[in-house]
Symmetry: C2
Subunit: 107 residues, 2 copies
Amino acid sequence: MIRIVYLLVRPEGMTPSKFAEECQVHYDMSHDVPALHKYEVRLVNEEPSDTHVPYLDIGPFDAVAECWFEGSEKYEEYLASDIRKAWFEHGKTFIGQLKPIYTQELC
Amino acid sequence: MIRIVYLLVRPEGMTPSKFAEECQVHYDMSHDVPALHKYEVRLVNEEPSDTHVPYLDIGPFDAVAECWFEGSEKYEEYLASDIRKAWFEHGKTFIGQLKPIYTQELC
């Protein structure tokens, strides 16, 4: 399974409630995107810095999202899809900054 | 469900393979931690910067982890547990820097 985690920051001047609303729209749109096995987006509600190991001082973030794909063929199909392109166009309207992190299982 | 995402950076001087090995040990230990509903840890294999919206220039990261708890009572039980404390002690041996992100569902 290919899994990509995304950290999202809302655009300057966008309220948290408008951002949350657009996250919901983006989530609803995800169901029509071909070859996307699963999509999740969650809002950030706390970023505590009192960690038991040295704190990594980054953020704040507004949402964490994740995309799942069954394999590289499905991922290519997703990339080529016009519905996926329209989904990304919607992303441009409410994502101020984005950090993608491609992950892999422990072997 | 309480869900906390963690971004992990390995300590300076630790090799990626040693870090991966310790992530596996940490994962194996997680099964004994009381009130922890689920734990995942995945290695980072790519952090592309050619995003369709402005790139959030942070990183690099070495792993993304996530903890699930069934609710705040379970989370308190987890915090109070000696096994959890020993698990965090193991975390100190291989996590160089840590960023916790407490998330919530879209309403």
